[in-house]
Structure formats: C-alpha cells, structure tokens
Symmetry: C3
Subunit: 251 residues, 3 copies
C-alpha cells in the first residue's frame, strides 16, 4: 500500500496499516512515486504538509495508478482553507488524462469545499457538520464517480446511488493526531483487496471505528488510547467489528 | 496553533497540543505558511531539520504573524552548534520589519549562543547548565523584549524585569525525543490565549512538567512514560498543576 | 549519533537511541550534514523517503565521516525495488574518495540487490529469505570491508572471515513501523563506541532483539508492544541481553 502522506501522520499511518495486516510503503518522491504506483495494490494521496516535490510525486503516482487501473484515495486535508493545495486537488480531479480517485475521504469542511453547493454562505473554514456536507458529498460522488466519505461523530459514505451512515468510533480519536489520515490509508488498503468500492470504504471506517470503541474501554487518556487502538486494529475480526458498529443505508 | 517544526517532533507536538486542548495545524510550506499565520492564534518556529523550503516558510509565517500582531515562539534548536540555522535565527531577530518573538525557548547552550555574554570561553556546544545561561537569557530578553525560557532540571523564565525559577518535571522527559519541541508548541498555545506573556510561558512549562511528574509515578521506562505523559497532559487541571510544581520569582 | 533517515522512522529511531543511552541528532540538510558529521561519533545513512536535498546531505555526511575516520552505517531501504535510490547507493559505495561504510544493514532482498550473486534469477523485489542472501552478503562484505547484517527471523552478520547467526527478537517487531530503521541507528551508536565492528553490529542486533522478547511477554498487540520495547531497550543490561539471545559463529 503506497502512501504519499504528510510527515505528521506518516508513522501512525504505517503502524495502522501494519496492525491491519497491510504492507505500507511510504514512497513519495518524484523520482520513485510513479514507478512504484505501477507495482502497488493501492495508493493514498494525502494533502497534508505538501512540499513542491511531493506535489510532483503525487501527480506521478496518480499517473502510475491510472496506467495500471489501481485504486487511489484522495484525502484533501485542508482543502478550502488553504488555497494552494486546494487548487492542486481541483487540478488533479479535473485532469481528464488521470483516473478519478476510487474514494475521497475528508471532514465536512473539506468535502464541502470540493463538492460545493452545500456550503451555502459559510466560510470553508467553518466547522461544518457531517449533515451539512451531504449535498456536497452527493455532488462530488456524481461528478467523479468516487466513493465520498465524510468523517465525523457519524460517518457518511456516499456513492452514486447509495448512501450509508455509520455509527462507530470514540471522541478520543479526535485527540490523537493523524487518526483521520490513517483512515485514508486503510481505505486504500481495503480498496486494494478488490471488493466493491463502497463496501471497502465502509469496512475501513468500521474497522478503525470499532477499534476505537474497544480502546476507549481501557484508556484513560489519548496516550494509552493510541496504543490500545493499534492493538484493537490488530486483533479485531470482521465478525467482532460488525458487532461493534452499526450502519444503515439511506434511502 | 500553527507549527513549523522538525519532522522528528511533529507528531508528538501535535499530540501534546491535542492533549492540552489546543488545535494543531502543521502548515509549513512557503506557499501556505504566511497566509495561514494570518488566521492562527499563535505560531511556533522550531529550527530542527530545516529544509530550504521550510526556512522560506518560517520567514513567511513570521511576516504573517507580524501583520496580525499574533504571538510567535522561537525554538532555536541547535543554535550555536550549527552555523547555517544560527545565522538564519539571527537574521530573523535582526529584521526590524518583523515582530520580535513573544517567547524564545531553548536549552542553556542555545540561549547562550543567541544571548552571548554568559558563554565565556566555552564552546557553544558545551553542555551549559541553566544557571550559566542566566546572563545570556537576560541579555536576550532585554534586546528582543521576548520572554526567554531556558529548559533544564530547573527551568528559568526571564522577562525584562522578572525572573522565575520553576521546579517541575522528571528526568524521563529527557529520554523521550521531542518533549522540548512540544514544550515550545505549548508555549505558543498558551500565548495564544492572550494572558500575560511571562505567565503564559510559565504555565506551559508547569503544565508539561507537572504531567511528567504524574507520568513518572507509574512508568517503568520511556515508552510507557510517553503515553502516560500525554494522558496526564490531557487530564490535569490548573489547580492540580499548581499543586505539583513550585516556582519562585527572583529577585 | 547523527541520523539521516526517513521521515517515517525518525521519531522512533530517536526514541530507541535515547532509550539505549545514546544521543540522537537528526541533522540531515545539505547545509549542515557535512559539518555535523565531523563532530559526530557515528553516522547513519538510511535511504527511506529520500528527497533531493537529503541525497545531497547524505553525500556530504559521508564525506565528513570520511574526513574524520568516523564509522557510518548504510541502511539501503528499498534497494533493488527502487531504481533511483539503488543507483545512488551504488554510487556511494563505488566512490573511491569516500570511506566504505562500517556496516550495511538491510533485509535479504536489499542485500541481495547490492551484493548480487545470490539473487539468481529471482526479482529483487522477491521476499528473499536470509539464507538466500548469504552469498550476496559475503560478496558485499568482501568488496567493501563492511560488516553486512541481514535482518530476519534469524539475523546473519557477515564480515570478511566471520559469520554469525543470531537468534533473538519477536514477530511483533515486524508489525511496528521503523523498528528495522531504528536498528540501523543503534548499529551506528554501538560502532561509535569503538569496539570491534563485528561485535558492535552483533551487540546492536542482540540489544533490540532481546528487548523485543521481553516486550512480547506482556504485550497483546503492536501498540503496547512498541512502548514495552522502548522500556526494555532502556532497562536491559548486557548480561540480561546475553541471557536472552543466542548466537553462533560459523564456520
């Protein structure tokens, strides 16, 4: 699983992938990212801490994924608030020679910034609620064909023709840096398994959310929680995950 | 809280900020750092692992902080030992078009290198004691107007006209990479609250030091300590912190 | 101990060095790496996430280590799979004006890629077994004079005229990102002590492997294991390490 991700979340993302049984490969230079994407089962493009070289590497990796019909995931960290990276993300999505991402995972503000429509008159740096981002998520899913996931207390996962609301997780997830970025990486890992795209993204969210519920039982703060979360990601079976979370499709 | 910091301490710094209730934003590219600093409540400039692009971003971020009268913190990691970054730090402090930092936090050698005077004939890479750095800290506080904090077994916090000695912490803090860098970030977070500068820097040191004392009670090594420290940063109240540490103003 | 290493493993490597009693210095820019290498007791060159600037810094650091006769360790992450960095590694090893590394530490595929011979018709990205890499390790040790360490379930450490097989460690080590990279850093730290090269590399492997065995006793997953491993690195004495691991020279 190739990750082009930010320096803050890179180690946690690699550890979550390992705990989930995947093989992380943080290959993110312009010289190597494209070639490696032609070997990878999936590619994550996360927009945090984007250097000029990593922008170039991201475009090369998406080109490589396009060539091999490999799924790639876009995590548009900071889209809307930060103009430079937002323009880059839009240029990736608008480039007709590149495959669309299999999934786009962000928070409500980021999805609203990319999908438009749902943001109304509010600034893109506003703390949107997940429900506020529903029109934007629908628009983005329609225009790109991607599964669009909006993370929050309840996660929203939107494909053209399908919407799923997932209840899982724990508030302590928001007190550990990089957990959302790691979720993007795990989406790419599940997509690399070749199951349906919507189900893959749903399974990734359920896996990490269920692990948070287990970790919260014993943790007394974010430090112990982070370690217990990795342990639970490692141990949980599919059946246990299904018992811990709940979701419903709508309509 | 915007952090331009080194890649080694970035994740820990973000986690400590989250544990302390602040919102980290690791925006450190030349294209985005200046604009984001105009939105941030505080800015940290930490000199570890400085790429050419991050130097440029640091200058842009300080420019943005200057424009908005936002407090920024300088953590001059490696000043004195490493010439290239030392010259950059001196150029930042000498630039009359930029606001002075609200605080400068370093170890005794780094403060001695910037403040001069107190270093005597000893090389700047010598392991200075905190007391050795007192004249340099005074000189640096006078010349810049910044609160100057010298970290060590006992912390020294110097403003023009006020000196505080703080007893807190635990030796295990020195066995976890990045705890000092995280302290610089928390200084910026407290300064962003708008209380007095000296009190803000003192409170940041007391918070992380008290948490170390709590963590040391249960930890049997640096791995468990790091997690327990984050938990304690998250849980401690101001009253509990005040009970755990001691300080006195001098003279 | 100067480390030029990848952004994913940098924090863990620094923490392992601190736990082992060494002093990490992550000085990895072209402007500073060469000068600092002239002060350092040992230098690690790890090929993960290599930016253009870090390539330049690596060459400068090896130049500095050469000038001062300081031991440096090469960790050829991804050699064989990734062409750009593989060519760089080969150019470092072929440069007659640079000292050879004191040690080269990699997995079986990486050593096979550099040492040739043992790879036979298999692709360099094949998951080689340690025993498969023995001819390549011998060839690489002969041609460079370096101690060549091949990490795996049983570690192989080869010098011209000496081969040691070390049994230590735990499978959970492979579920924590960066543990191998940290091992390269600890090799550099032991080499900096000035004992014999082969014994230094063996001791580094034994130290981290024994700590993994201790950590595995209490850990229930990779998150708790990582913390317990650092604690054990910190606490284990040489005598305890010797009791935990086993090795034999061959022939």
């Amino acid at each position: 699983m190739q990750c082009l991700t930010n320096t803050v979340a890179a180690a946690l993302s690699a550890n979550v992938l390992l705990a989930a049984g995947a093989s992380p490969a943080m290959i993110d230079t312009p010289e190597e990212a494209g070639d490696f994407a032609r070997l990878a089962a999936g590619v994550l493009v996360n927009m945090g801490t984007p250097t000029a070289a990593r922008y170039e590497a991201m475009r090369a990796a998406v080109r490589g994924a396009t060539d091999m019909d490999t799924p790639w995931v876009l995590d548009p960290v900071g889209a809307g608030v930060l103009g430079h990276r937002t323009r880059f993300v839009r240029s990736l999505l608008a480039d007709a020679t590149l495959a669309a991402p299999a999934a786009i995972r962000g928070n409500a503000s980021e999805i609203a910034a990319l999908g438009g429509g749902g943001a109304g008159g509010r600034g893109v740096d506003t703390a949107h609620r997940v429900t506020d981002a529903l029109p934007a998520a629908r628009a983005l899913a329609e225009s790109t064909g991607a599964v669009v996931a909006v993370s929050g207390p309840v996660d929203l996962i939107v494909s053209p023709g399908r919407e799923t609301w997932l209840t899982s997780g724990d508030p302590l997830l928001t007190r550990v840096s990089g957990t959302d970025c790691a979720l993007g990486a795990v989406c790419a890992a599940y997509l690399g398994l070749g199951v349906g795209k919507h189900d893959a993204v749903l399974a990734a969210h359920a896996h990490l959310g269920a692990a948070a519920q287990v970790a919260a039982r014993s943790a007394t703060g974010p430090g112990g929680f982070a370690a217990a979360w990795l342990d639970a990601v490692h141990h949980l079976t599919s059946a246990e995950i299904a018992d811990l979370v709940s979701w419903k499709d709508h309509p």
